[in-house]
């Protein structure tokens, strides 16, 4: 017989079965407790405010590598979501095509922010990554609804 690895022999079959059974139970506890196995996009995305790298917006500027983005729409099961791009409201001359959001603890914005009423489609797998270290917060429900209404109205105007 060929030699088998000693470390493999260190754990008997019965012990392996016992450990695996416990691993399964531990998995159950973990999923019932904290760590989500699957990113729940439908719950997490609508209203979320994230710092989005400029390349996702389709531009690069020297003043900043990223800009805030707010998710206005996500259809369950889809692989894309609609975001609007935010910028410092004090830098905007005409606020006509923008929706202003005041900075709050909940939305995580650091200053009054103007969200441009132009929808951007972002891929879900890219957004998931942003949640790891670029999540700012969540728009208040009233603000979220008002933003969506403003976006819909603005796009209806453009179509007519």
């Amino acid at each position: 017989m060929e030699d088998s690895d000693d470390s493999f022999l260190d754990v008997s079959g019965r012990e392996r079965v016992r450990r695996r059974s416990h691993e399964s139970e531990a998995d159950e506890r973990a999923s019932a407790g904290g760590e989500p196995e699957v990113f729940d996009a439908d719950r997490e995305l609508p209203g979320a405010v994230l710092m989005v790298p400029n390349r996702h917006w389709g531009f690069e500027v020297e003043s900043a590598a990223d800009h805030p983005g707010a998710c206005t729409e996500y259809e369950p099961g889809e692989t894309e979501a609609i975001f609007v791009h935010g910028t410092d409201a004090d830098r905007i001359r005409s606020l006509r095509n923008y929706f202003i959001v005041e900075a709050t603890e909940q939305n995580g914005l650091k200053k009054r922010t103007a969200f441009k009423l132009t929808p951007h489609v972002l891929r879900l797998h890219k957004i998931k990554l942003l949640f790891a270290n670029r999540y700012l917060g969540r728009l208040e429900q009233g603000v979220f609804e008002a933003l969506k209404t403003a976006l819909a109205r603005r796009n209806a105007e453009e179509e007519t």
Partner: protein
């Protein structure tokens, strides 16, 4: 720009852009780990992903993002703590990637996972008593690509073909009795596996590749276990085990008064649950699906439509419909669980 996972963990912060630096490295590592486990040749659905094959364009987009979240981002504090006591965490990331695959596999393909676990335990027992040898091992684990030789006459022999192993599995006696032991990690499953290995050795196939043997046993076990737990054909009228089928199965109204009561209760209580949903769009979608589902049951009785038909009626994508059905099913389950026994 991070040159290693260790750099990435050290510098992780808001300015960090994993997609631009560490993700290509992680994708490479993930593919290596998948290859070792024989997962690259398996359908992505075994790990819960949609692409038809791992060769499809963009097939790795989702799994790499999920792997990064599981193996790095959600463990950043623990990884940083490790950097206090060790010079790098490259090995830990490899372990986390393997854990990610293990986690996905055990959740998405529990039967395949149980068959593998029972085989690994059986081989460990046989190896301990000198009755088996394994060509390669990976940190105390049995890699899918490794070759196992049973008994003393196996040296130098070629591993059995998958088709031969399929045939051996088909010929095994008392399969139906053994099936329940095989679909979970158990001592009975380990003992069955030892007997099976002795049987194939006695039949002139003392050598096999782990992935082939697992695939041969697991595919029959999956099919037979699914068939054993399928609903009686007379109750189906459906094209498969899709969400709408499962939802309908939950409270199919028949002549039984209690079932009708349950349906009436769901008609009252599900809309209340839907009303609690935060988003108007979701409320609207759930209501449309629920009403169509109720209408279908009340109007058409047993000639129920399949999910594609439901999607067509609602002018909804199959994916969106599936998601709504899954939510409705969860609501129905919760309501039924809360229902007081009469």
């Amino acid at each position: 720009m991070c040159l290693s996972f260790t750099d990435h963990v050290r510098t992780f912060g808001r300015d960090c852009d994993p997609e631009a630096c560490v993700l290509p490295r992680l994708e490479k590592l993930l593919k290596q780990c998948m290859r070792r486990r024989g997962l690259l040749s398996q359908p992505p659905a075994l790990l819960g992903y949609d692409p038809p094959t791992w060769q499809a364009p963009g097939a790795f987009d989702d799994i790499v993002s999920d792997c990064y979240r599981f193996g790095v981002a959600e463990r950043i504090e623990g990884l940083r703590n490790q950097l206090v006591v060790r010079p790098n965490i490259e090995g830990l990331i490899t372990r986390n990637v393997n854990n990610f695959l293990f986690h996905r596999q055990s959740k998405r393909d529990p039967i395949g996972y149980a068959v593998f676990s029972n085989l690994e335990a059986a081989v460990a027992d046989l190896a301990a008593s000198g009755q088996a040898a394994v060509d390669t091992l990976d940190e105390n684990r049995l890699p899918a690509a490794s070759i196992v030789r049973i008994g003393s006459g196996a040296a130098g022999m070629k591993p059995g073909e998958r088709t031969e192993l399929d045939a051996a599995v088909l010929e095994v006696p008392n399969w139906n009795e053994a099936l329940a032991d095989l679909v979970s990690t158990s001592d009975e499953g380990r003992e069955w596996m030892i007997e099976f290995l002795r049987r194939i050795e006695a039949n002139g196939m003392p050598c096999f590749r782990v992935s082939d043997l697992v695939a041969a046993i697991a595919s029959r076990a999956r099919d037979d276990w699914a068939a054993r737990h399928a609903e009686p054909a007379a109750e189906l009228g459906y094209e498969g085990q899709d969400e709408s089928y499962r939802l309908v199965r939950l409270v199919w109204p028949d002549q039984d008064l209690d079932t009708k009561d349950v349906l009436e209760m769901l008609k009252r209580t599900v809309p209340e649950r839907i009303a609690k949903e935060q988003q108007a769009r979701v409320r609207k979608g759930l209501t449309a699906v629920f009403e169509e589902w109720i209408r279908t049951i009340e109007d058409e009785g047993v000639s129920r439509p399949n999910q594609a038909e439901l999607a067509r009626r609602l002018t909804m994508s199959a994916k969106t419909l599936s998601d709504y059905l899954q939510r409705l099913r969860g609501m129905a389950r919760e309501i039924l669980a809360e229902k007081p026994d009469e």
